[in-house]
C-alpha cells in the first residue's frame, strides 16, 4: 500500500492506452515528474506513477497505470482496465495508423470499464505540427461522436498535458458529486481514503469476485 501522506480524499486510478510509441509513457512522465517540483512537497519517496492534485479544494491522488500498446498484448491486458476511473486514450497525430486503431481501443475500454469511466482522447506530439497526419477537426469529430473529451497535447513540450489529466479528474469528481459514479462499485476506480463509513464493504467484495474471474 502506498506509504506516505494520507491527506488526500480520493484515489483515482487512470490508465493510459494507445498504440505502441504514441508517447503514453512520455505523457505520464511529463505529468508525474512535476510532483517533485511544487505540487507535493510531502511526497515520501518516489511513488510509482502517482501525483496528488487538487480539484475543488479536494486533494486527489492520481494513480496512473501505463500499459503496453502492442497489438499482441491486447488480449492479455484487460486486467489493466479493471477499476479505472479514467482512461486516457492516446494517438499520435503524425501517424494515422495509431488514429485508426482508436476505435478498437475505445471498444476495449467501453467493454472493460464501467460506464462512468471518463475517457479522454489525447492527440499527442502536437509539437510536430508539420508532420501532422491526422487533423484536429477529424479527431474532434470522432471524440464528439463517441462522447469523449479531446485535446491535442505534447508530451515533449508539456503543452496541454496537465490540462488533460486535470480535466479528467474534474470530470470524475463531478460524477462523484452528481452521484453518477458509485463509490461503492467495484470498478469505480475511486477509493475514498479518509475514514468514512460505508462503501468499502461492497467495493472489496466485488473486487475479489472480479479478481477470481480473472484468467490470471
Amino acid at each position: 500500500m502506498s506509504v506516505g501522506p494520507y491527506n488526500y480524499s480520493y484515489i483515482f486510478k487512470y490508465i493510459i492506452i494507445g498504440d505502441m510509441g504514441v508517447g503514453k509513457s512520455c505523457l505520464l512522465h511529463q505529468f508525474t515528474e512535476k510532483k517533485f517540483m511544487s505540487d507535493c512537497p510531502h511526497t515520501i519517496g518516489v511513488e510509482f506513477g502517482t501525483r496528488i492534485i487538487e480539484v475543488s479544494g479536494q486533494k486527489i491522488k492520481l494513480q496512473i497505470w501505463d500499459t503496453a500498446g502492442q497489438e499482441r498484448f491486447r488480449a492479455v491486458t484487460r486486467s489493466y482496465y479493471r477499476g479505472a476511473a479514467g482512461a486516457l486514450m492516446v494517438y499520435d497525430i503524425t501517424r494515422r495508423s495509431t488514429y485508426n486503431h482508436l476505435s478498437s481501443w475505445l471498444t476495449d475500454t467501453r467493454n472493460l470499464t464501467n460506464p462512468s469511466t471518463v475517457i479522454f482522447l489525447i492527440g499527442n506530439k502536437c509539437d510536430l505540427n508539420a508532420a501532422r497526419d491526422v487533423t484536429y477537426e477529424e479527431a474532434k469529430q470522432f471524440a464528439d461522436e463517441n462522447g469523449l473529451m479531446f485535446v491535442e497535447a505534447s508530451a515533449k513540450s508539456g503543452e496541454n498535458v496537465e490540462e488533460a489529466f486535470l480535466e479528467t479528474a474534474k470530470k470524475i469528481y463531478q460524477s462523484i458529486q452528481d452521484g453518477r459514479l458509485d463509490l461503492n462499485a467495484a470498478e469505480s476506480g475511486v477509493q475514498h481514503k479518509p475514514s468514512q463509513p460505508g462503501g468499502r464493504n461492497t467495493l472489496v467484495n466485488d473486487q475479489t469476485a472480479s479478481k477470481d474471474s480473472c484468467s490470471c
Binding site: M1, S25, G49, A75, S79, Q191, K211, D212, C216
Partner: protein, 737 residues
C-alpha cells in the same frame, strides 16, 4: 469384516438416538445429539464463556472509557456471534455433506487442536517486527484485532477442506474489511491503521498459509505444472521474439536480469501475500532499471511488458499460478486495486496469460516455425541460453588468454635470459679456448720437450694407484722419484722461472697434466723438505680434485699453473685464479717454496699485501676484489680451513678465519688438505719460494680427468665455478671440456 457384514447386530438402535433422549437420531458429529439438542447444548456452553471473556476484557482494559468500550464491545460481540452462527450453520451443512465422503474431516472438525496457536518462529518474528507499531494502538483495538484474527483462524482451519476457495477468499477479505471498519470506528489515524492491517494480514496469512496456499480443493497445482511445462516448452523464446530491448551483451544488464530472476523466484518463498507482492515489485523495479540501461532512457510499459514476459519465461518461477492465485484471493484487495504492487502484479498476470496463450502470431513467427520450435525439432540460433553460455565461455577464454599472455611474457624473458646466458657461456668458452690455446701455445714449447716422458705417466692407472700409495709415499719418494720426479722438478723449476714473466701458463692437455701430477707425486717425495710436503698433499685424500692433481705435481710451479688453467676453463674470473694460484702456490710452496712465496706474490701483484697477488697475475680481468670477497664468503674456505688450519699453523688459520683475505684464500685451498697445512707451517717462513709461486699462479693448467682425492674439496670447487662471483677464486677447478 464382521462388523461390515452385519452391522445391525452390533449397534443398538438406542445408541443411534440423541443423547438427550428425544426421539430424534443423534449424530456422532454432533457429539451424539440430534441437531436440535446439539445447537441448544452449544449455545448454552458458549454464552457463559462469552460473558467471561467480555468481563475479562473489560477488566483488562483499565481504559478511561470502560463503559463505552464495553458497549461497543458488546455490539461487536453480537455481530460476531451472528456471523459465527451463520458460518457455523453453513459449516454444518458442508460438513455433513463432506462427512459422508471423508471420515477424517469429522475428526478434524470435532477435536480441532487449534493449530494457529502453535506459533512458529516466523509468526514470532512478525510479532516482533510489528511490536513497536502494535504497542501504540490502544488495548481495545488490539483486543478486537486478536479476536478477529482468532475467529478467522478458527474458521479457516476448521473449514479449509469443506469450503470452496472462493468462499475462503471471501471470508478473508471480509476479515480485512471488518478490521478496517473497526479501526475506522476507533478513529485510528490512517498510517497506524495501515500498519495494523498490514500486521493482521501478514500474521493471519502466515499462520494459515498451509491451509490457504494451493489447497487441495483447487486445481492450482495442476495449473502450476501446466504453466511450468509450457514455459519449458517456450525456452527457445528469446528477447528478439518478444521485441524486448534487453541488451544481453551488457554485463550490467545481465546482472540485473539475474537479480530480477532472483526476485521473482523469491516470491514463492514468502508467505504473506504482501511479501509476495513485494517480491514482484522488486523484480519489476529491476526490470525497469535494466530497461533504462538497455534503452538509455526511461522505459515505458511498451517495453516493460515484453521484458517482464521474458523474465518470467527465463526464470520459470515455481508454483507461479498458485502464488498468483494466493495473492489475488488473500491479499488485501485494496492493495491490488491501486499502488505499485497492484500495477506490477497486474502486469505479471498479463505476462502469465500471454505466456499461456502464446501463439505463432503473438511472436510474429510463421506457424510451422513456431510448431517446430515448440516440438523441439529446431532450436533457434540465438537463444538467451546459448548467448549466455557463449558469453561465459568467451569470458573464460579471455581470462585464459590473459593468463597465457602472462605466461608468454615470462617464457620470453626466460628465453632471453637463457640466450644471454648461452652467449655468455659461448663467449666464455671461446675466451677460455683462446686463452687455453694461448697458454698451450706458450707452454707447449716448454713442456713438449720435457713432457715426452710424461706420456708414460699419462696412463691412468697411475692416478688410480696414487691414493693407495699415499701411505707408502713418504717412504716411496726416494725410490719413485728417481726418473720422473727429477724431471718434474726440473720442469717445475723451469716453469717457475718462466712463469713470472708470463702471466698465463698453458698446459698441453689435461691428460698430460694428470700424468704430470701422477708422476710428480713420487718426485715430490724425492725432494727434501718441500717435496715431501707436496707428496703428502698428493697422498692425502682430502686434497681437492684440482689440488690433488696439483699437489701431485712435484713442482709447485706446475701445480699453480694447472690450477690457473683450471680456473680458466671454468670461466671463472681471475679471482678464481688468484685464489687457486695462491692455494696451489701454497700447496706447491709446501713442496718447493711454501707460504712465504704466496704471500710475496700476493703482495707484489696486488700491491696490497693482504689481497692475493695471484689474481693480478691471472689473465682474467675481474680478478682481485671479487676473488677476495668471494673467497671470504665461500663456504668451503670457512668450512675447510678452520679445522685443519688452526692446529697446524697459526698464520693460515687466522687467514682462514678472516673473510676474504688473500692470505686466507691462499691458505684455504691448503686447508682443504689437512696434511698439507700441517706441513706447511714450518715452510711458511721460507720466503724464497714465494717468488716462484707467483709465476706459477700465472700459469694455466687444465686438469680434467684427475680423480679427486677429496670429494669435499671438489664439490666446493665445482660450486664455486658455478658461482663465479661468489667463488673466492681459490678453488675454481673445473674440467675443461
Amino acid at each position: 469384516m464382521f462388523t461390515k457384514k452385519n452391522p445391525a447386530l452390533r449397534i443398538d438402535e438406542a445408541d443411534l438416538k440423541c443423547k438427550n433422549g428425544c426421539d430424534f437420531f443423534g449424530n456422532p458429529e454432533w457429539d451424539g445429539y440430534c441437531s436440535h439438542c446439539y445447537y441448544k447444548e452449544r449455545d448454552q456452553k458458549k454464552s457463559p464463556s462469552r460473558g467471561e471473556s467480555a468481563s475479562r476484557g473489560s477488566q483488562d482494559k483499565d481504559s478511561p472509557l470502560p463503559i463505552t468500550m464495553a458497549k461497543r464491545f458488546s455490539k461487536f460481540e453480537e455481530k460476531k456471534q451472528q456471523q459465527r452462527q451463520q458460518q457455523e450453520k453453513r459449516n454444518k451443512f458442508s460438513k455433513l455433506a463432506s462427512s459422508l465422503r471423508k471420515s477424517t474431516s469429522i475428526r478434524d472438525s470435532g477435536r480441532l487442536p487449534e493449530p494457529w496457536l502453535e506459533q512458529s518462529p516466523e509468526v514470532e518474528r512478525i510479532k516482533q517486527e510489528y511490536a513497536s507499531q502494535l504497542s501504540s494502538i490502544s488495548p481495545e483495538v488490539s483486543q478486537y484485532m486478536n479476536k478477529y484474527i482468532q475467529a478467522l483462524c478458527r474458521t479457516v482451519c476448521s473449514d479449509a477442506n469443506n469450503m470452496s476457495i472462493d468462499e475462503l477468499s471471501e471470508k478473508v477479505q471480509k476479515f480485512y474489511q471488518n478490521l478496517s471498519k473497526c479501526m475506522d470506528a476507533q478513529n485510528i489515524n490512517q498510517e497506524l491503521k495501515e500498519q495494523v492491517l498490514d500486521y493482521c494480514e501478514k500474521f493471519t496469512m502466515t499462520i494459515l498459509y498451509r491451509n490457504l496456499f494451493c489447497p487441495a480443493t483447487t486445481t492450482d497445482e495442476e495449473k502450476d505444472l501446466a504453466i511450468q511445462k509450457r514455459i519449458r516448452q517456450l525456452s527457445w523464446v528469446n528477447a528478439k521474439h518478444l521485441d524486448c530491448r534487453i541488451n544481453e551483451t551488457n554485463k550490467e544488464v545481465r546482472d540485473l536480469v539475474y537479480t530480477s530472476f532472483t526476485d521473482l523466484l523469491g516470491m514463492d518463498s514468502e508467505k504473506a501475500p504482501q511479501d509476495k507482492l513485494q517480491a514482484v515489485v522488486k523484480c519489476c523495479r529491476n526490470i525497469f532499471l535494466l530497461l533504462q540501461s538497455s534503452v538509455g532512457g526511461p522505459a515505458s510499459a511498451d517495453e516493460f511488458l515484453p521484458a517482464l514476459i521474458f523474465i518470467v519465461l527465463k526464470a520459470n518461477p515455481a508454483r507461479l499460478k498458485s502464488n498468483i492465485h494466493f495473492i489475488t484471493r488473500f491479499c488485501n484487495a485494496s492493495r491490488l486495486m491501486t499502488g505499485e504492487g497492484g500495477y506490477y502484479f497486474t502486469n505479471l498476470c498479463c505476462a502469465v496469460s500471454f505466456i499461456e496463450n502464446m501463439t505463432a502470431q503473438s511472436l510474429s513467427l510463421p506457424e510451422d516455425e513456431f510448431e517446430q520450435y515448440m516440438s523441439g525439432e529446431v532450436v533457434p540460433t540465438s537463444t538467451w541460453d546459448s548467448s549466455v553460455m557463449m558469453y561465459e565461455g568467451i569470458s573464460l577464454m579471455y581470462e585464459h588468454l590473459v593468463a597465457l599472455d602472462d605466461m608468454h611474457k615470462r617464457a620470453d624473458s626466460v628465453l632471453e635470459n637463457t640466450d644471454v646466458l648461452m652467449n655468455k657461456m659461448k663467449d666464455l668458452s671461446h675466451q677460455i679456448k683462446i686463452r687455453v690455446d694461448d697458454i698451450l701455445a706458450k707452454t707447449q714449447i716448454n713442456l713438449s720437450t720435457e713432457k715426452v716422458p710424461t706420456d708414460i705417466d699419462t696412463e691412468n692407472p697411475l692416478l688410480e694407484l696414487l691414493p693407495p700409495p699415499i701411505a707408502p709415499m713418504v717412504v716411496a719418494p726416494v725410490t719413485q722419484n728417481t726418473p720422473e720426479s727429477g724431471k718434474l722438478n726440473s720442469l717445475s723449476e723451469k716453469k717457475s722461472l718462466i712463469l713470472p714473466g708470463i702471466t698465463k701458463y698453458a698446459f698441453p692437455s689435461d691428460s698430460e697434466l694428470d700424468a704430470l701430477g701422477a708422476d710428480r707425486t713420487p718426485g715430490d717425495g724425492a725432494l727434501p723438505l718441500p717435496m715431501s710436503d707436496s707428496q703428502e698433499f698428493l697422498l692425502t685424500p682430502s686434497s681437492t680434485y684440482g689440488f690433488s692433481a696439483l699437489d701431485e705435481l712435484a713442482t709447485p710451479d706446475e701445480l699453480c699453473a694447472a690450477q690457473a688453467s683450471l680456473n680458466f676453463v671454468q670461466g671463472l674470473s681471475a679471482v678464481n685464479y688468484d685464489i687457486d694460484i695462491s692455494d696451489t702456490s701454497a700447496d706447491s710452496s709446501a713442496g718447493v717454496s711454501p707460504h712465504p712465496s704466496i704471500l710475496s706474490v700476493s703482495e707484489n701483484k696486488d700491491g696490497s699485501p693482504e689481497t692475493a697477488s695471484v689474481p693480478a697475475t691471472d689473465p682474467h680481468p675481474d680478478p682481485d676484489p671479487a676473488s677476495l670477497l668471494d673467497t671470504s664468503e665461500s663456504p668451503t674456505s670457512k668450512l675447510l680451513l678452520p679445522s685443519p688450519m688452526k692446529p697446524v699453523a697459526p698464520e693460515p688459520c687466522s687467514g682462514l678465519d678472516k673473510e676474504s683475505f688473500p692470505e686466507e684464500q691462499s691458505s684455504t685451498p691448503v686447508h682443504s688438505q689437512g696434511k698439507l697445512i700441517s706441513q706447511k707451517p714450518p715452510e711458511v717462513p721460507t720466503n724464497a719460494t714465494s717468488s716462484n709461486y707467483e709465476s706459477f699462479t700465472a700459469q694455466g693448467w687444465k686438469i680434467q680427468s684427475i680423480p679427486c682425492d677429496t670429494g669435499t674439496s671438489d664439490l666446493n670447487n665445482t660450486n664455486r665455478t658455478k658461482k663465479p662471483k661468489d667463488d673466492p677464486g681459490k678453488l675454481m677447478y673445473c674440467d675443461l671440456d
